[in-house]
Amino acid sequence: MPHIAFTSQLQRFTETPELRTAAATLRDALDAAFEANPRLRHYVLDEQGHLRQHVVVYISGRRVADREALTDALAPDDKVYVLQALTGG
C-alpha cells in the first residue's frame, strides 16, 4: 500500500500521521491522513481543496502534477511526501 508522510515542520502546529493507505489517488491518500487528524487538512489544502501554493508533494520522486483535483494515481509501493516548498520563504 502507498505510504504517506508529512514534513516534520508541520508538527509545530498539529499532529502529522504517517500511515499506509489503500488509496489509489493522492486525494484519497490525503483524505486518509485528514481522517486521522482533521486539523491537518487546512494546513495542507486551501478552502477550495487545492494544495496550498507553497506546499509541494512528491510521489516516489516525481512532483505532483495535479495540484487542484489531486488526481495523481498512486501505485501500491509509492511513497508520498508532503513538504514545504522553498517558495514559501
Partner: protein, 354 residues
C-alpha cells in the same frame, strides 16, 4: 496612562510593557511566524492573533488570558468558488484587519472580503453583499496582487465603514444589507486625469475615525491626506509638510481636530524624506501641521511605518509607531518627544495599545 502595547511582526507577536516610564519587551508568542494582525485583549482578557504562515496558510488564534496561552480557532475562509467566478480566487491570502464591536468580530482580508463572527471565531460569515458587488472583480490591488480590506470602522449596530486598497471606501448603514462607495472627494494622481476622482479607483492606505466625534474620519491615501467631517460622505484633501505620501494615520480619540501621520518621500521611494524620520501632527483639522522630530533618527534612517504601524492610546497622549525595518518609538506627550524601544524587532506589520 496606558502600559501595554502589542506588535504584530514578521516573526511573531511581541507584547510591550511600560514600567517606570520605559517600554520594554515583556513576552513573545508565535516566534518565527508572521503575525499579520492582532486584536488586543477586551475586558475579559480575550484577544486574537492572525497568522500568515508562509507555507501553511492563514490561521487565527485566540487567547482568553491576555496572551499567556493560545488556542487555534477558525480562520475566515471562503466557501466553494463557483465555476467561472470572476475576479480573485476565493482563497483567503491574509487577514489584514481585525476589529470588534460588542460581541461581533470583523475580519478584512486579501482578497477584498469582509467576514463577521458572532461566536468568538468559532464560525465566520462572508459578507456576500459586498463580495457580490458587480464592480468587485475589477477592484485593483494596492501593494499586493489582489485588492484587500485594511480598515474596518464599525459604528453602532448597523454602520460599518471600510478602507479598500484599491477600491476606495465602502459603507453600510443597514448591517450589510446594502453597501455603497463612499470615497467621493478623494483624488488619485496615479490614474488617467479623467479618472482621478473616480471613487472606485482610490487607494486609501488607512482610514481612522475620531471615537468621540465619529463623523470625523482621516485618511492617509496613496497620494494625499483626506478628511471627512460627515462620516465619509465627502472627503477634503489636506496638504502636509514634506510629503503627503505615507501609510499610517492615527486619529485623536477625543479631539476631532487632531491626527498624526508619518510621511515618506513618495510611492517610488518609500523612505523618510531626507532619511530623517518625522511625524506630522495637525491640531486644527488639517489647516496646518507641525513636523515632530524630537527623539527620532534624523539621519541615515530608512524606516517606513506601514499602515497599521502607528497607534494612539485612549488617553490621546501615548503614541507608538513601528517600522518595516523593526524600529519602534514611543511618545507620552502626543508626539512632541519620542523614545526608541531598546530592541531590534522584526518588520512591524501592526502595533496596537490595549
Amino acid at each position: 496612562m496606558v502600559d501595554r502595547a502589542w506588535v504584530a511582526s514578521r516573526k511573531g507577536l511581541i507584547e510591550l510593557r511600560r514600567r517606570a516610564g520605559a517600554w520594554a519587551v515583556q513576552r513573545t508568542s508565535f516566534v518565527g511566524d508572521p503575525v499579520s494582525m492582532l486584536l488586543p485583549p477586551d475586558a475579559s482578557g480575550r484577544m486574537f492573533a492572525a497568522l500568515n504562515l508562509g507555507h501553511f496558510g492563514v490561521k487565527l488564534h485566540a487567547s482568553d488570558d491576555a496572551g499567556t496561552s493560545w488556542r487555534e480557532v477558525t480562520a475566515p475562509a471562503f466557501g466553494p468558488q463557483p465555476e467561472g467566478a470572476p475576479g480573485s480566487a476565493w482563497k483567503v491570502v491574509m487577514v489584514w484587519a481585525l476589529e470588534r464591536r460588542g460581541d461581533a468580530l470583523y475580519a478584512g482580508t486579501l482578497p477584498g472580503a469582509l467576514f463577521k463572527s458572532t461566536d468568538a471565531a468559532q464560525t465566520w460569515r462572508l459578507d456576500d453583499v459586498l463580495w457580490n458587488q458587480p464592480g468587485r472583480p475589477t477592484w485593483g490591488g494596492g501593494g499586493y496582487d489582489t485588492p484587500g480590506i485594511h480598515s474596518i470602522s464599525p459604528l453602532g449596530d448597523d454602520t460599518v465603514l471600510l478602507g479598500v486598497s484599491s477600491a476606495g471606501a465602502w459603507i453600510t448603514h443597514d448591517a450589510g444589507a446594502t453597501w455603497n462607495q463612499t470615497a467621493h472627494g478623494m483624488r488619485a494622481e496615479y490614474m488617467p486625469p479623467e479618472q482621478a476622482y473616480d471613487p472606485d479607483a482610490q487607494d486609501p492606505h488607512a482610514i481612522a475615525r475620531c471615537a468621540a466625534q465619529p463623523d470625523v474620519l482621516w485618511c492617509q491615501h496613496h497620494n494625499g491626506i483626506f478628511r471627512s467631517t460627515n462620516g465619509g460622505a465627502r472627503w477634503d484633501e489636506l496638504h502636509a509638510p514634506l510629503s503627503s505620501f505615507g501609510f499610517a494615520v492615527a486619529a485623536h480619540p477625543a479631539d476631532p481636530q487632531t491626527a498624526w501621520f508619518v510621511p515618506a518621500v513618495k510611492d517610488q521611494c518609500r523612505i523618510p524624506v531626507d532619511c530623517a524620520l518625522v511625524v506630522n501632527r495637525t491640531r486644527d483639522g488639517g489647516a496646518s501641521f507641525e513636523t515632530l522630530r524630537a527623539g527620532l533618527p534624523q539621519q541615515d534612517c530608512y524606516d517606513l511605518v506601514y499602515r497599521h504601524g502607528l497607534a494612539v492610546a485612549d488617553d490621546g497622549l501615548s503614541l507608538m509607531m513601528g517600522s518595516t525595518t523593526g524600529g519602534v518609538w514611543a511618545s507620552d506627550d502626543a508626539g512632541d518627544h519620542w523614545t526608541a524601544l531598546p530592541a531590534r524587532l522584526p518588520p512591524v506589520y501592526a502595533l496596537r495599545f490595549g
